[in-house]
Amino acid sequence: MDEVDLKYDFFEKAHAGKILRCIQCGTCSASCPLTDQMDHAPRELFALIRDGDIITALRSNTLWYCVSCYYCIVRCPQEIPVTDLIYSLKQMAVQRGLSPAYHKLPDMYHSFTQVVARYGRIHEPLLMARYALRHPMDALGSIPLAMRMLKKGRLDFFPSRLSQPDRVSRLLAEVKRQEKE
């Protein structure tokens, strides 16, 4: 893997030069709701990248534990858009197949994007059915709750659809086509 390419993508395309302003105060890590699950909390993640080790950062589970609560952004004294930069790292990790195989969120997002590509909208039972192919225990665990929702009249068996359901799949296919140009 060419690290120079990765650094170019991050610093130039994603405008990540702002991390050079980081004073390593740790406010981001201390504000993060799932920091205790992360292998390299946000402060450390940026220290790694500044130290030249962008590959470790891209393989880090931190990217996938980020819940987008945006606390780090509003609290950073150096006005570094932490959450947005984590999004850029996630996109890079997915593109290059670096996201950690053991983490469930890349699978969840994959299932999510597939349901949207097919139906244009999210339908919770279909999303859970797809996700269950990879993580059956999570899906089984959600059945009692699904039954209660069903009883309350809150679950539809069929997804709500667009007038022409292939509109979104064609839109996304067009994105893919133009991306290659």
Binding site: Y71, Y87, K90, V116
Partner: protein, 278 residues
């Protein structure tokens, strides 16, 4: 008053959100025009994997709204709200990205022009209506109920313009305006675990119990939610984790109660932790 309305994917299964939004809008003469043929906003999932696709999904909704002459999009979900604002900001700041997106939308004969205003329904009810509309048919026992507000994350953060990011009061002011008693607490803008609560329930348990315990300790009879996912995590999480039960109605259900509507018209039976007495 007429607004473009983006209901989003979770609206239908949310506990009485659509019933109460409809009932309240009708009673107050707010016309919510659904963006026809809308698609998923893209949420956190698409921005996590591919920015171009994320922008295209959001932009298609903007283009549909503009094609119908709608200048504002009102959402009822924090995630749709922030996803749309983020996409709108990226497209407004980057003419190159905007033209790439328009090239993609062109295959459906759509395009976007300029920026689109994205708003949350709470902002509409609080800022666009006179304060006295809530007093007309108000039951006189509302002061007996203490409501804790819960904003979650993506309404005030990262924007900080509807209200300050960390200690907002718009929801409390709204609750007060409806005629309920409100209580301040330290968990109003903490994270509920969002989408991670499905895959990492055990890890998200402390987040949900922190919020429920706090509102319980502060003596709240209920928590007012402004987002379908927050509402779901707080409502369903209580039984899942054996917490002290506190009902979590939507702010629009409380608004309906203040307008003298019946619980059945507001979908209150759909809450998992029942709201009794009101």
């Amino acid at each position: 008053m007429k607004y473009g309305f983006y209901s989003g994917c979770s609206y239908g299964s949310a506990a009485g959100y659509s019933e109460s939004v409809d009932a309240v809008s009708r009673a107050l003469g707010i016309e919510l025009v659904e963006i026809s043929d809308w698609n998923c906003c893209g949420a956190t999932a698409f921005f996590s994997v591919n920015e171009f696709k994320a922008l295209a999904l959001a932009a298609r909704n903007f283009a549909l709204a503009q094609a119908h002459g709608l200048k504002e999009i009102v959402t009822i979900c924090n995630a749709c709200y922030t996803t749309f604002r983020k996409a709108n900001q990226i497209l407004t700041d980057n003419p190159k990205k905007l033209s790439r997106i328009n090239a993609v939308l062109a295959q459906e004969g759509l395009s976007i022009e300029g920026s689109i205003a994205v708003r949350h329904y709470l902002d509409v009810l609080y800022n666009d209506l006179p304060a006295d509309v809530w007093a007309r048919k108000r039951p006189n026992n509302l002061k007996d109920y203490t409501v804790a507000g819960y904003y979650g994350c993506q309404l005030t953060r990262p924007w900080g313009d509807i209200d300050v990011p960390e200690h907002p009061m718009i929801l409390e002011r709204f609750i007060e305006r409806l005629g309920f008693n409100f209580v301040e607490h330290s968990a109003t803008t903490l994270c509920c675990g969002a989408f991670h609560a499905v895959s990492y329930a055990k890890e998200c348990r402390p987040l949900i119990s922190r919020i429920i315990r706090e509102v319980h300790l502060k003596g709240a009879d209920m928590v007012a939610a402004v987002c379908p996912l927050c509402q779901f995590n707080l409502d369903a999480g209580q039984q899942m984790f054996g917490l002290h039960p506190v009902p979590v109605p939507f702010f629009t259900q409380l608004a309906g109660i203040a307008l003298g509507m019946k619980p059945a018209d507001l979908g209150l039976k759909k809450l998992l932790v029942p709201l009794r007495g009101v």
